[in-house]
Amino acid sequence: MVVGDISTGTDVLVIGAGPGGYVAAIRAGQLGLDVTLVEKDAYGGTCLNYGCIPSKAMITASDLAYDANNAEDMGIYTKLDVNYGEMVEWKDGVVSQLTGGVEKLCKANGVSLMEGRAEFADDKSVRVVHGGEGQGSETVEFEQAIISTGSRAIEVPGFEFDGEHILSSREALALDDVPESIVIVGAGYIGMELAGVFAKIGSDVTVIEMLDSVLPGYEDDLARPVKKKADELGIDFHFGQAAKEWEESGDGITVMTENEDGEVSEFGAEKALVAVGRQPVTDTLELENAGIETDEKGFIQTDDRARTEKEHIFAIGDVAGEPMLAHKASKEGQVAAEVIAGEPSALDYQAMPAAVFTDPEIGTVGMTEEEAESQGFEPVVGKFPFQASGRALTTGHAEGFVRIVADEPSGFVLGAQIVGPEASELIAELGLAIEMGATLEDLAATVHTHPTLSEAVMECAENALGHAIHTLNR
């Protein structure tokens, strides 16, 4: 039996409860708006359920196991035994604590929650199809809508995700057992983060990449320490190889690849993880009914208020274009909610930070030297190696460096790139520096606690000024 179509209304409809949508909904609730949040799957979206959080949990746990197992130089000897299933269970506990929190926070801020899949009926209403047989659908009318339906993993032709042999990151993060061996297709950040997890807890990892290096898009010298450590972990890299097809063989599979010259190679493993990028989820929304178009990649175009071509419909997060990052989604969500509430908000940030949680980590914010130059600045660059950081040496992780790019005449900090311990955290101070219009001198004059990794930020600024204490100056 199908439940009859009922019709409800809301001032603000948010579609998708990822870090874009749920943040938009909470902020709208805080601003006193009548807001409904529709989610078809799980509160927290990709990020909390299948992305950022599960991957970071598994990375931290596998790092702990690996580090303890490789600390003989510190006088620490271990006999280690990792139960992958229990690690995944622990990760699931973290996830459910956080997703439960999201639900509670939504309710506490007056957000109405609705389960189901939304499709646009026209530019003033959606049809929400409830999950499960015979659950029916309902029409929800809105004054304003925020589209935050996120993204999904791209499938390589011939490598449809089956959850058994061919995995996306989502399934790879939910396995019951460590695979004895795994082929990872794609050396982007997701592929490299998970390659580290599997290698550290004992899988034989092979990485296949079409381009010629790891972490394409990042500067060479940032990617180099990550590649070096991956080599040490025994990860086997094959560059310039495109995955073509696969077949079952024995207990596992064989993946066939082809290089530029058409030469075929074969790689055997228990499973394959395909992580070649993500695409926006805009094809299942019947966007055309709302009169909204997408570009050739499926992204929705928005302005600096996160508005689509329809004034009253906003798009945020992964559907609204690169960079596909959770904190970009949340920022856009906040701005969309504030704009709807009539606040003078805009996407006017100076710099969007990003982190890669490989070993070592990478953190970036603002411009590279090359970008600064091409935008007409006269860049001056400071660099400080973690080898010269007392704190880094005391942690046994002293690879990598901090680099700061500034405008020489004015001293304004324009960007920073960090590879090394806690790079994801250290980049925060540089983000604030850029937003505040801080100069190299400001960073250098700020007292930093000893002994900390953050001193490297100060010394890096001093290096750019020609007077670092703990490294020779340029």
């Binding site: 001293g411 505040m436 801080a438 100069t439 001198e441 400001d442 004059a445």
Partner: protein
């Protein structure tokens, strides 16, 4: 804000010392009254102007 505390970036504070300006006397035009480098330079120019004016008065042309 209470007296005695000046809100200004380290670079502005240093510039004040370099130009011989007492930053506590500079009016801030930044957000919430933060003293900017520009404010410091303006203050420095106006003191120089005053000194020049005084000099002018002592030795009129």
């Amino acid at each position: 804000t209470p007296e005695g505390r000046v809100f200004a970036a380290p670079s502005a504070r240093r510039l004040a010392r370099e130009l011989g300006v007492d930053i506590a006397t500079v009016e801030g035009t930044g957000p919430s009254g933060r003293v900017t480098e520009h404010d410091v330079r303006t203050a420095a120019e106006s003191t120089t102007d005053e000194v020049e004016q005084e000099t002018d008065e002592v030795q009129p042309d």
